[in-house]
Symmetry: C2
Subunit: 140 residues, 2 copies
DNA sequence: CAAGATTGAGTCGTCAATCTTA
DNA sequence: TAAGATTGACGACTCAATCTTG
């Protein structure tokens, strides 16, 4: 058992490669996985959320969302709006262009996933997800 | 098949969580996984490499190495030196402090891996690595 | 011109400090 | 005081442009 500890390293290396691959597929739409995740979360919530709510759903820190929404706003995919009952809060609302980009992005993303998992049996896919989630469980 | 494509997303989410976990373990040493990977590659190569060679071994871009070595140098873990036969090249050489940090970092890293994989059977570990490498193969 | 390294700008994430509103 | 958002500084990565040396 003198494993030099390659499991975690190869996991993270693979994740990086997969992300680069996916991001390259999304780039022509002006999207990245981060942007798509945000748009997708907003759409699932009925097209708008406060920044804090969005941070919770993406499980990241609020200051990250501030900047991500900055970029999405510059892209024209989201606009900031006032929250009805709390003057401290700002809503991020998906624009029509954002709706289109999100739909197309999810389509591309699904294609990419199918492409990358083409050689995987249903059992292998299940195993991969199960093992990865088990690992994440312990790291949390 | 109307998979919303959660396999890639959960892989990358898990990788992020695992990295945060590992980085937190290394932080008291003044290390991160990125820094440790660089030091470890240098040690394996006999304690020094040109920046281009280091970039190849870490499979990343050269400008990234320039900045990573900047930080390692500021930490006192590495120093830049002239290359013997090519005045264009600069060597990154591990310092004594870098050697200590690397050894200790690898130890911590191995502990972290054992901790995270505590609930995994030998078969599961093999499967995880095999599946992840198969996926990376296709993404490359 | 090629190669090695660096710099500048941009993305995506963190944390700590700050400002406004509740 | 605490909650919501922002800002500034930094880590780690990318690409494109530049400078020096071969």
């Amino acid at each position: 058992m003198h494993d030099t500890g390659r499991v975690l390293v190869s996991l993270m290396h693979a994740a990086g490669t997969v992300q680069a691959h996916s991001d390259a597929r999304l780039a022509p739409l002006g999207l990245s996985m981060a942007k798509l995740a945000a748009l997708s979360a907003l759409r699932q919530a009925g097209d708008s959320l406060s920044l804090t709510q969005l941070a919770e759903r993406l499980s990241c820190v609020k200051s990250n969302i501030t900047q991500l929404v900055d970029r999405l706003e510059a892209d024209g995919f989201v606009r900031r709006a006032a929250a009805p009952n709390d003057r401290r809060a700002r809503l991020a609302a998906v624009t029509p262009a954002g709706r289109l980009a999100c739909d197309e992005g999810l389509r591309i993303q699904a294609l990419t996933e199918r492409e990358l998992l083409a050689g995987f049996s249903a059992t292998e896919k299940r195993q991969l997800v199960a093992l990865v989630e088990k690992l994440e469980q312990r790291a949390t």
